[in-house]
Amino acid sequence: MDYKALGLVAGIEIHQQLDTKEKLFCHCPTCLREVEEHSGEFFRYLRATESEMGEIDRAAKEEMKRDRKFLYYTYDTTCLVENDEEPPAPLNDEALAVCLTIGKMFGMTAIPQVHVMRKLVIDGSNTSGFQRTALVAVKGALPNGGEIETICLEEEAAQRVKDDHFSLDRLGIPLIEITTSPCMHTPEEVQKVAEYIGMVLRSTGKVKRGIGTIRQDVNISIASGARVEIKGVQELDLIADVVKREVRRQQTLLAIRDELRTRNASVAHATSQDVTGIFKETKSTVLKKAKRISAITLKGFAGLVGRELQPGRRLGSEMSDYAKKCGVGGIFHTDELPAYGVTAEEVAVLRSHMCAEEQDCVILVSSANEKQAACALNQVIIRAGMALSDTPVPEETRKMLEEGSTAYMRPLPGAARMYPETDVLPVVIGKDRWDAVVVPELLKHKAGRYAKDYGIDLNYALQLAASDKLPLFERAVREKIKPKLAAFTLLSAVTELRREGVEMRAVTDESYLAVWHAVEDGRAAKEAIPALLRGIAGGSTVEAALAELAPAVSRAELETVVRKIIAARSDFVKEKGKAALGPLMGLVMEEVRGSVDGKLVSEVLRKEIDAAVAGK
């Protein structure tokens, strides 16, 4: 597909958690907890307030459609600030320093006086009803010629446990938000830029690692389409696919609009009717449970409501997303019926009751009461009206589903959702502070250096630079451990042990270093490293593991072992000659339990094989 011809324009926002000691606005640690560990809970309601400009944000208004009660879990690692029961502490200076470092790495300009703002978020993920955020730096450069527009320092939101239950451990962890200009024009370019920014962030050594610690939001539009923001793409590999699928969605919506117009489709006279009676005897479990079933007819929509926009997503899914804001479970439409227990006869009665002609589509909603049904169908009419308007792609914030399709979340927020966080004083970033910011070496440069100086394969070096064990590797090198030995352990041995199910987090940096020193001093063979680490992970001390798994073996002892093994297999050795070396090597290593260097074993073995063969 020629994305440039389609007018694809994309920008990204990257949210990365920072690995600071304390949270952004309180002195709690930045550690995540298991939900079962929660020490208490409380619940609240949220309501939107007027901003300083005297208006309620449209995204906030959308959330208010539902009367929602939010439950929060507290921990012994959270405090009254997370509970929104205490004013915030001053902005965490360590987090600000990381932002300044990253800003300088992108060649940005710091804001002289940083002001913390309150960004309205009333989906419950912030106990206060707003997220604190501050603009820290502007205008940086990307390798593709694009621009980093802004860097903001924000507080992380609470983690949704289920429905309207939230866990407060994550709330307040510092988060850097990096926003690019809409400077990308192909799906692959978007992915590349995201990867580059991720690499720069990790180069600071001050960002959190692991699933959920980095999230990408992608802004996408095509010519005649509209800007759509897709939230929370966690897997980097999916970004290109997400972009491709959104392009397809926008193209299809444009095509549907054209067809609707040819058909003279209209929502002007769509009025809701009570059709509960039609489904009195229904086999559909959803409809059977419904207190009230209502329907509307969409003139000229038949076949188009069911048209696929993205894998697994139809125009009907979009309408359903809108209707769900009123608290209903979703909608049915006649493009997909009969199905789900609804019979052809029921559909026929419904269509005739709703005066639906062949080109019309009937939408059904099952709800708790008349008010909810009216709200949901009104939402469907609004969304259907958009589909045939001049802007058939609504400006929206969407959430990513598995595999890269998306669902509607809320309208794009406007600027009205911000107002000053008056409880936090502004922070001045003077010239002295900015000048003193040290720019760390980029990981890709670091990897190149490792490859060149240490003779580590470049792919290995890149993996190492990206690994969270990088600081340990650098320390090992400083302590004169052979870089290849450390790299082999951290990349190859550790990965294999982890695959075996060994709990590698139990092995401290100090233990790794002790093992390496033992190898360097000849007290253990390189081959013993996996066994030693397994023992240490299982609770043994380094010394005990060394004593048990790598007892010192003298050359004389080794020769005895080798002779014994050769003697037991003399026929085999005589037959194979030098070729017996390989098969016997493993046997010897097993016997000496890896406590002798492989090179020495092979040397002794070769000599003894020669002797045995010569002696025949």
């Binding site: 619940f43 929104d84 029961e85 300009t109 006086q113 940083v114 002001h115 603009l135 903001c152 911000m418």
Partner: protein, 408 residues
């Protein structure tokens, strides 16, 4: 540049358009179109245009037939706050009608007359404003109000509630309400507290009370007697606690169901009366180890002094001569305890007996600050020292329990 001007700022190699908010510490604070505020050197900004001032919105409140009439008297505080662009801090600016606009549910409970009495932070409250408040409440009740809501900053709300308790005999509920978390935040407790206050003000209650969150959850508000309530936390929603007495009632949220304790004074029990004289020359002094007698002597021209003593109601023996001098010069000295819970008894230890001999009056289980407010009222209304002293030892408005209940 003036607040609200559209400006263009050259910064970081880019032009940023925004709205000038204020000057702060030598920087121009500009709200960008993205919504963010930044502080940049003023020289980098130029004014593009000044806004046409928009006329203030008129707020109409429609009356609903059949609902009781309540009066909302606003004094300021966090139940009604807005952002101050000059300092960037939260200050009290809304009047009572703004509260109705912000909390539409109130309109389903009652019809309201709104009366902006003051717009102050409650630490700036004075006995003179208490008196103005008492007169305003009296007028509203005379005028037919079926309940009064006083919106108040939380810091000194308990003092004001106590003052009104003593100054007014009321047949209807007079409810003090505020919020602990600023009203500009979606999570503010202002709306729920106000709704519960309105429910309490239309209930069968007939006394002065404080209605605030009972727990950190948005589920219940407690109704506290105005003379037995104290702010016990700096920031939590459930900061207000009844002391030495259980709360006299509760309001469930969102059902608005009001439950009153058997001991709560019922509507119509007392006839309306006002006694709004206060003696301003009264003070409250907290004793601490090593306190100099000179501090006591500084109060020599005061008509009344409440001591917040240690334990059962003690101060250092070294202070007793100074106390004797004060009493001899005509100052009424009342002893309370900084323990907050429990009753003073100056008959157990020698120091206590010496204090009684010096002329100190035992304040029973009165809260120190309530004793202060009561002393102002008693000395304002009773000139005879012996009678005044007797009144201090008598329960007037539920401030002094005759019995100390177990478990409180």
């Amino acid at each position: 540049m003036n607040s609200g001007d559209l400006v263009s700022c050259e910064y970081g190699g880019k032009t940023h358009k925004g709205i000038f908010i204020t000057s702060r510490d030598g920087m121009a604070v500009v709200k960008l179109s993205s919504g963010y505020n930044i502080g940049v050197p003023p020289v980098s900004c130029t004014c593009i245009e000044s806004p046409v001032p928009t006329p203030p919105r008129t707020r109409e409140v429609n009356k609903t037939a059949g609902l009781p009439d309540l009066s909302i008297i606003s004094t300021g505080g966090t139940i009604a706050s807005r952002i101050d662009y000059r300092t960037g801090s939260v200050s009290s600016q809304f009047d009572a009608s703004d509260i109705l606009t912000a909390i539409p549910e109130l309109a389903q409970i009652a019809n309201y007359r709104t009366l902006p009495l003051a717009a102050i932070l409650s630490e700036n409250m004075t006995p003179v404003i208490w008196q103005e408040l008492a007169r305003a409440i009296y007028a509203e009740i005379k005028n037919g109000a079926k309940g009064i809501i006083v919106t108040h900053g939380t810091d000194t709300m308990a003092y004001s509630a106590a003052a009104i308790s003593f100054m007014i005999d009321t047949p209807i509920p007079i409810i003090f309400v505020g919020s602990q978390r600023s009203a500009d935040r979606p999570s503010s407790d202002n709306a729920m507290n106000a709704v519960c206050a309105a429910a309490a003000a239309t209930s069968d209650l007939g006394e002065v009370a404080v209605v605030m969150h009972a727990t950190t959850n948005d589920d219940t508000c407690a109704i506290h007697r105005g003379t037995r309530v104290r702010k016990m936390h700096t920031s939590r929603r459930d900061a207000f606690q009844s002391m030495g007495l259980p709360a006299i009632g509760s309001v469930a949220f969102p059902s608005q169901a009001v439950t009153l304790a058997p001991g709560a004074v019922r509507r119509g029990t007392d006839a309306l009366a006002i006694h709004d004289t206060l003696e301003p020359h009264c003070a409250l002094l907290q004793f601490y180890p090593g306190m100099s007698p000179d501090i006591l002597r500084a109060y020599e021209c005061y008509k009344g002094l409440v001591l917040s003593g240690t334990g059962l109601g003690h101060v250092s023996t070294l202070l007793i001569p100074a106390i004797r001098e004060l009493v001899a010069a005509g100052t009424l000295v009342v002893m309370t305890s900084q323990c907050m819970h429990g009753r003073v008894c100056d008959r157990v230890y020698d120091t206590g007996r010496d204090l009684l001999n010096a002329g100190v009056i035992e304040g029973g289980d009165m809260l120190p600050e309530v004793a202060l407010v009561k002393l102002m009222w008693v000395l304002g209304n009773e000139k005879d020292p012996a009678k005044a002293a007797a009144m201090m030892a008598t329960d007037l408005k539920g401030e002094l329990n005759r019995r100390s209940a177990h478990g409180l």
